[in-house]
């Protein structure tokens, strides 16, 4: 095993994949144990996207995500403990327990949620980018959303405005082929989403969302264009969710075979295999990385368990800002 910047970087990506997967698996158990409540949307199967994309973004770029955003929060650097505490509804959660699974914010990392209105994050991302453009800051706003959002009017209005005004938005469409139970073919008259996006006169490419390195490279290239002032870019990340839409979903709308076929491309198995092939990863190292992820998530759970409750007296805090923003 020879360490190099390349191999270190790759292992870093693998570390992200492992900790997100571990986190999500823990969530399943914690949901059954009623520690986590509300709607819970798992990222299992799609981890390569958050892991790859976040590796390609800068700290002062902004990130806007959806209700399926645990992976994005973790990969962006929000401590697993703060995320888990949030899902436990604790005062120590990244949103003091007010947001929950669907609304993870961390402004110190420029993570602006966690939006549970499908398509609702896009206009806000356009505005964040507008603020950067008006203030001549070479920053990117990365906006994640599912392919289901493409049918919403807010998608259309946002792509048009961003393209028209050449705003620095990076649209990252996670095409996992289903919006709840609705397959892409039953949602879009044009199922080639990159082609669709290109009709707004912006660069748009598809990429294999199961390949973490391809994701990183593509997002890096796209972000560079956006940062360079060339206007918005759209990337379609082709992926699949291995689990049901949420904990309520009986998952009746797709076949076991289809799921099995996609599972063969699970980044959690393919990427370690690739790194092995390259000679960058051995059994011990993999076991150590897994143990590290296990430990981190176990600690996060313990932290969340030990957390406190926001006082009920503070119920109406934060409805209005307490002081002028700087």
């Amino acid at each position: 095993m020879s360490a190099s910047p390349q191999s270190e970087h790759a292992l870093g990506l693998l570390r992200q994949l492992l900790r997100i997967r571990r986190f999500e698996e823990a969530c399943v158990e914690l949901y059954s144990a009623t520690k986590i409540r509300g709607f819970l949307h798992l990222y299992i199967g799609q981890e390569a996207i958050a892991a790859g994309a976040m590796a390609a973004l800068e700290p002062d770029d902004a990130v806007v995500a959806t209700y399926r955003e645990h992976g994005h929060a973790l990969a962006r650097g929000v401590p697993a403990s703060a995320v888990m505490a949030e899902m436990f509804g604790r005062a120590e959660g990244c949103c003091r327990g007010r947001g929950g699974s669907m609304h993870l914010f961390d402004v110190s990392r420029r993570l602006y949620g966690g939006n549970a209105i499908v398509g609702g994050g896009l206009p806000i991302a356009v505005g964040l980018a507008l603020a950067d453009a008006l203030q001549h800051r070479p920053r990117v706003t990365a906006c994640f959303f599912g392919e289901g959002a493409v049918a919403e009017g807010e998608f259309h209005e946002s792509l048009n405005l961003a393209a028209l005004w050449r705003l620095p938005v990076l649209f990252l469409c996670e095409n996992n082929r289903y919006a709840m139970g609705t397959a892409l073919e039953r949602s879009e008259s044009e199922t080639d989403l990159a082609l669709k996006a290109a009709s707004y006169e912006l660069p748009a490419w598809p990429v294999d969302g199961m390949d973490v390195e391809a994701v990183e490279a593509t997002v890096r290239r796209a972000a560079a264009m956006v940062r360079g002032g060339e206007g918005p870019v759209f990337v379609e990340l082709r992926t699949y969710r291995f689990r049901a839409h949420s904990m309520y979903d009986p998952d009746l709308y797709r076949s076991k075979e289809e799921i099995a076929r996609w599972r063969e491309r699970d980044p959690l198995t393919t990427y370690p295999a690739l790194l092995r092939e390259r000679g960058w990863l051995g059994d011990d190292a993999l076991a150590a990385l897994k143990a590290e992820a296990d430990r981190e998530i176990a600690d996060a759970i313990a932290f969340a368990e030990a957390g406190t409750q926001e006082p009920v007296a503070d119920l109406e805090r934060f409805v209005y800002a307490e002081e002028l923003p700087s």
């Binding site: 604790r90 007010r98 929950g100 209105i117 049918a151 807010e154 009746l252």
Partner: protein, 336 residues
Amino acid sequence: MSETTATPTRTTTTYRAALREAIREAMRADERVFLMGEDVGRYGGSFGVSRDLLAEFGPERIRDTPLSESVFVGAGIGAAIGGMRPIVEVMTVNFSLLALDQIVNGAAALPHMSGGQFSIPLVIRMTTGAGRQLAAQHSHSLEHWYAHVPGLKVLTPATIEDARGMLAPALADPNPVLIFEHGSLYNAEGELPDPPPAVPLDGAAVRRAGGDLTIVAWGGSLPKALAAAHTLAGEEIDAEVLDLRALRPLDTTAILASVARTHRAVVVDEAWRTGSFAAEISARVAEDAFYELDAPVERVCSREVPIPYAKHLEDAALPSAERIVAAARRTVGRGG
């Protein structure tokens, strides 16, 4: 009312299944009826109401739509004008904001603007309310916004009988009718006569008679109101519980009749207090039964905060049986 003389059979069912049976019955009875919305078909409905209907009626009549609230609601309007009897499901009232233009500027206004040349026999169903830790973007109670709009009708079934029975008259109505299903009610169990009785849309219903005060409630607040009445009974306060059943048209007569008997009223509304529908009811009571009232009307509403995720905070934000009891005690002069 049905005319059966023999004791009717009774079946145990749920609010969810009752809604489903009502759709099934309507679709069997009338070819023009169809159901349209996000995930009503293959997924089975986001809250499971339409499960199994796709198998019976096929994808032409159980239509899965893309995520496009505005167009599929607008298409419901157009299809109704075109002679169909659409049932449009919007997953939740929160998302209905994306279709509000079509409902308010379209469905409610077009027939009148045309001078009465046509009507829009459309039914729109949606979930409303909080209580399941779904946080701020999935917990609104906005049925009163729709109840504000002339041209619309607004139903709020709170019982299994109404869940089963309100769809038929809604579909028979030539006007756009919105049906609000409170998310906390879907799993409610109860009995229903078999065959189920016709449910006329003839105004509010007294769900518990009582002489000391009137508790006005609807939808998801009805169980809380009844629980409060039960507690109050233990304190020898005899509360009448009035289930509005519809917010538009509003059965003012029933409200005033009850208050004329009890002289005191508590109104329960899961919306935020300021600008709630409870305000409308409180105002009507105080305006129209001014000389009947022995105490100020009390409102039990949600606290003025986007509903938080954490259970203890959500519980604190919403109306509860305890808060209703406390308000009732105040109206009868037993408050703290």
